[in-house]
C-alpha cells in the first residue's frame, strides 16, 4: 500500500499532476479519449447483452431475491427505495432511501 499523500496541510491549488508531486497522470489516447476497450472477458464490445442472456439461468434467482427484498422494504417502510427510483448518478451520495 503506498503511503498517503504527504501532508494534509492546506492545498492551495489543484494541479492536474496531483498535489503530492509524485503521481503520474494517465494519458488519453491519440484521439483525445481513452475509448472503451473490449470488456474484461475478451468478448466483443457489443456482446454484453449476449453475456447477460448467457447467464440468465444463474441470474434468475438473484433477480428474484433482489425484487423480493425491495418489495418487502417498500412495504415495511412505505416509500420506494433508491434502487426503485434511481434518480441520480451512482455516487456515494445516493445514500438516501429512494
Amino acid at each position: 500500500m503506498p503511503e498517503p499523500v504527504g501532508s494534509v496541510a492546506e492545498q492551495p491549488a489543484l494541479s492536474p499532476s496531483h498535489p503530492d508531486g509524485t503521481a503520474t497522470q494517465r494519458q488519453p489516447d491519440a484521439a483525445g479519449t481513452r475509448g472503451c476497450p473490449a470488456p474484461p472477458s475478451g468478448a466483443p464490445a457489443d456482446a454484453l447483452a449476449e453475456r447477460v442472456r448467457a447467464a440468465a439461468d444463474g441470474l434468475a434467482p438473484l433477480v428474484a431475491q433482489a425484487e423480493a427484498v425491495r418489495a418487502e422494504r417498500a412495504r415495511s417502510q412505505a416509500w420506494p427505495r433508491w434502487t426503485d427510483v434511481f434518480t441520480t448518478q451512482f455516487t456515494e451520495f445516493s445514500n438516501r432511501p429512494r
Binding site: 503511503e3 499523500v5 494534509v8 492545498q11 492536474p16 496531483h18 439461468d57
Partner: protein, 375 residues
C-alpha cells in the same frame, strides 16, 4: 450495443443538494480527497439562507427533497451551529448527514432524533481494515467510530455505511459483508478507493481480483440478504432489465446536477469532489456561481448552456454514450474521476469505471454464471 437514450439534459429540480458546513475534519484518513480539511472554514448562515430560498421553492414542487450535510466532518461544526444552518430549510425537507461517527454521542443522537436526520457513517470494516481512518497524530479512529455506533444503537437510530476498499480481492467480499451484517447497518455502499482530489495514489487494481471481490460480495448477499447493498442491488436491477431487453430504460431520462454548496457559497455541479479547488489549470475553481450573489436555480440552469469544463464534460459523456456498452448501467464516467485521472473531462473510461462499474457488473455475471452451472 443499444442506442442509449438516458441521461440527456439536466433535470430542472435536483433530488438533493450537498452542503459543506465546515471544511474541517478531525480525522486525516490516508485516502481522503478533501483539500482544506485541516482548516476550519465554517459556512456562514447567510449561505444556508440563500440556498434555502431556492431549495424551499423546489421542495414545494416535489414529493421529497433532501439536504445532505457533508464535509469536512459535518459534526465538527457543532450542534448549535449546524442547527442554525438547518433552520432556514422548510419543514418536510429531509436532512441527511455523512459522518465519520467519531463525534457521535448521546447529545448528537438526541439532535438527530429531534431533526429526524438520516445517518450515514464511514467505516471500512473491522479494525485492521479501517486502519487508514486515523487522526492527525496517526492514531486509529476505529474505537471512536465504534463508540459512535454504540450511541446510535442505544438510541435506536438506523444508519447506512460507506465503506472504502483500497485492496479489493475475492476473500474480502465475504468478510466485509459478514462484518457489516453484524454491525447492523441497514444499507451499505462500497467505494473502491478513487484517485481524486488530494489523494494522488494510483487506483489501478488487478481486474480479476476486483471482479472476484464483487462476485464474492454477490454470493454473500445471496446467502443472507441482511441489508441493502447498493452496488449489487443496482447491478441486479440493471441486469433484470437487460434480461427483458429493456436495458435502455434503466437510467433516468435526464441527469441530476447534484449541486454541492461549498462552505463559502460557491456551487459545483455533478461532482462534489471538485468543490474546494480554487485554481485548477485551464478550469479555475469549477464553480458555476455563488448562492450569495445568484439564486441557486439560476446557477443550476446554467448547466443547460454549458461552457468551460462543463461543456467538456458533456462532450465526454457523449463519447461514453457512443462507445461504451456499459453506459446504460452508469450514465458515463463521473466528472471528478475524468479530471483527477486524466486532467481533462472529454475522456471516457476511467479506472474508477473499471473498478466500480465494469468489473462490478462482470463480477455479478461471473457469480450468476457459476451458480447457474451448479444448479
Amino acid at each position: 450495443m443499444p442506442r442509449w437514450t438516458g441521461m440527456k439534459g439536466v433535470v430542472d429540480i435536483p433530488s438533493y443538494v450537498l452542503m459543506q458546513p465546515t471544511t474541517l475534519c478531525n480525522l486525516d484518513c490516508a485516502y481522503c480527497y478533501l483539500p482544506h480539511r485541516t482548516t476550519e472554514r465554517r459556512m456562514p448562515v447567510a449561505v444556508a439562507e440563500a440556498t434555502a430560498r431556492t431549495v424551499n421553492a423546489w421542495a414545494a414542487q416535489v414529493d421529497r427533497f433532501s439536504v445532505v450535510w457533508h464535509g469536512g466532518e459535518p459534526l465538527a461544526a457543532g450542534r448549535e451551529y449546524l442547527s442554525a444552518l438547518m433552520a432556514p430549510f422548510a419543514k418536510g425537507i429531509e436532512h441527511h448527514v455523512q459522518t465519520n461517527a467519531t463525534l457521535i454521542d448521546d447529545q448528537w443522537c438526541e439532535f438527530f432524533l429531534a431533526h429526524e436526520m438520516e445517518i450515514g457513517i464511514s467505516v471500512d470494516g473491522p479494525a485492521e481494515l479501517t486502519a487508514q481512518r486515523r487522526d492527525r497524530r496517526g492514531a486509529p479512529a476505529y474505537e471512536r467510530i465504534m463508540r459512535g455506533v454504540d450511541a446510535l444503537r442505544r438510541h435506536g437510530i438506523r444508519f447506512a455505511v460507506i465503506c472504502v476498499v483500497s485492496d479489493p480481492r475475492p476473500e474480502l467480499g465475504r468478510r466485509l459483508y459478514e462484518y457489516f451484517c453484524e454491525l447492523g447497518c441497514y444499507w451499505l455502499g462500497i467505494n473502491i478507493e478513487e484517485r481524486e482530489g488530494v489523494n494522488g495514489r494510483d487506483n489501478s487494481r488487478d481486474p480479476e481480483a476486483v471482479r472476484g471481490f464483487w462476485a464474492e460480495l454477490t454470493a454473500a448477499w445471496r446467502e443472507n440478504p441482511c441489508m441493502e447493498l447498493r452496488e449489487i442491488e443496482w447491478s441486479l436491477y440493471y441486469l433484470a432489465a437487460a434480461l427483458r431487453g429493456e436495458e435502455d430504460t434503466v437510467l433516468p431520462r435526464r441527469r441530476d446536477p447534484v449541486p454541492t454548496i461549498a462552505h463559502d457559497g460557491r456551487v459545483v455541479l455533478f461532482s462534489p469532489e471538485l468543490a474546494g479547488f480554487d485554481s485548477a489549470p485551464r478550469y479555475g475553481d469549477f464553480a458555476l456561481g455563488n448562492v450569495l450573489t445568484t439564486p441557486l436555480d439560476e446557477i443550476v440552469a446554467r448547466a443547460e448552456s454549458p461552457t468551460g469544463w462543463l461543456a467538456e464534460y458533456f462532450a465526454g459523456v457523449e463519447k461514453c454514450r457512443a462507445t461504451c456498452p456499459y453506459f446504460g448501467f452508469c450514465g458515463g464516467a463521473h466528472a471528478s474521476n475524468r479530471y483527477f485521472e486524466f486532467g481533462r473531462f472529454d475522456v471516457t473510461q476511467t479506472q474508477h469505471c473499471l473498478n466500480t462499474k465494469i468489473h462490478l457488473l462482470e463480477g455479478v455475471l461471473d457469480h450468476a454464471r457459476a451458480s447457474g452451472v451448479r444448479r
